[in-house]
Amino acid sequence: MRFFGQGLSCIRGERIVFAGLGFALSPGEAAVLAGRNGSGKTSLLRLMAALTPAASGTLSWDDGPVADNPERHRRRLHYVGHLDAVKPVLSVRENLLAWVRLRGGGGDAADAGLARFGLSGLAGIPGRYLSAGQRRRLSLARLAATPAELWLLDEPTIALDRDSVAALMAALVSHRAGGGMAVIATNVALGLEDAATIDMTGYAAPAG
């Protein structure tokens, strides 16, 4: 076990979204979050990213709890949320490069990320001219540009065409082959047969 959580619960605005949730990931493993809309998939991902604190429970790496060293935790993860964080006034490459630089990468890493998601030809286009799918690909290019052990992906395939989904799956395969882990919230079958499934409905608080 490399990254695991125990007894996690989440409260959003007086409502218990889920309670008593546990998971464990070893290097190379992936987990798929399944469940209805509002069952807490996004909440769990944000909690795993330490963007929101858990109401109870602990989140740990094998070398110590997340709470003891949040900076190390952040360095180890990539988070792709609903929002693509694309600046309309920056070009595609500048958009990616800003994030890559903050993680210690350079121009080569950014170009590799763009190539992986078929954006090399759009490198000089300002972000405001991108379609929803292209913006999503730019957001996903961060994954390929700089390495991180843990990928947290929230509905990553939304707005993507078939080729881009294939590119994402290929990136996921090589990430896992290198010992990386991934947690993916999705409502579409991605063909990740070997991935564990965390069914959020099982952790929902009893009604009333």
Binding site: R74, D84, A85, K87, A98, W99, L102, R103
Partner: protein, 221 residues
Amino acid sequence: MTALVLLIRRELQLALRQAGDSAVVVLFFVLAAILFPFGVGPEPNMLARMAPGVVWVTALLAAMLSFERLFAPDYEDGSLELLALGPAPLALVALAKAAAHWLTTGLPLLIAAPLIALLYGLPKEGYLPLVATMALGAPTVSLIGTVGAALTLGARRGGVLLSLLVLPLVIPVLIFGAAGIEAAIAGFPARPHLMLLGGLLLGALVIGPWASAAALRQALE
């Protein structure tokens, strides 16, 4: 340190592409200052007497215009989440925002201020203290405004709320800023006022980024 430089660089790159935002603030400053003689009459002695206060008050009001968009675009497009998840601590992100705000708004206001003073016929002993008090006061205003912008993030009518929150907090800067210039005109040393402004800046530098980080964390939850 490199993270701070990279963060400021990102802000400056974005600000440069949207240079109109800074220009609007400076234009507001100039226009608001020009309105006073129309209201109070063009009597030269009175205008010269009013100059330090008018320059400082209008500069503060102009700065209020710029704080609302300090974090809002990053909050709305998801960039703030990524900044919060980046290797740099949030306090450093807030410090970078304040520094970039000072460079893109405080500095242009500082450059425009002597021109306004010229229009008002400020006595020549007042120019150096005017630049000095603004050089020390503007970064403090940027830091306090950053806290206000972080606190009102996601609130409805955040801009108005922000002004209500920040303006009372910058009153000390206004008092010592305007008084420093007036002291110099009256033949007294401006030094004590400058030192007090320096003290305020140091205090804001210590408290501001951490307060902003705490507020940003709340907004992201």
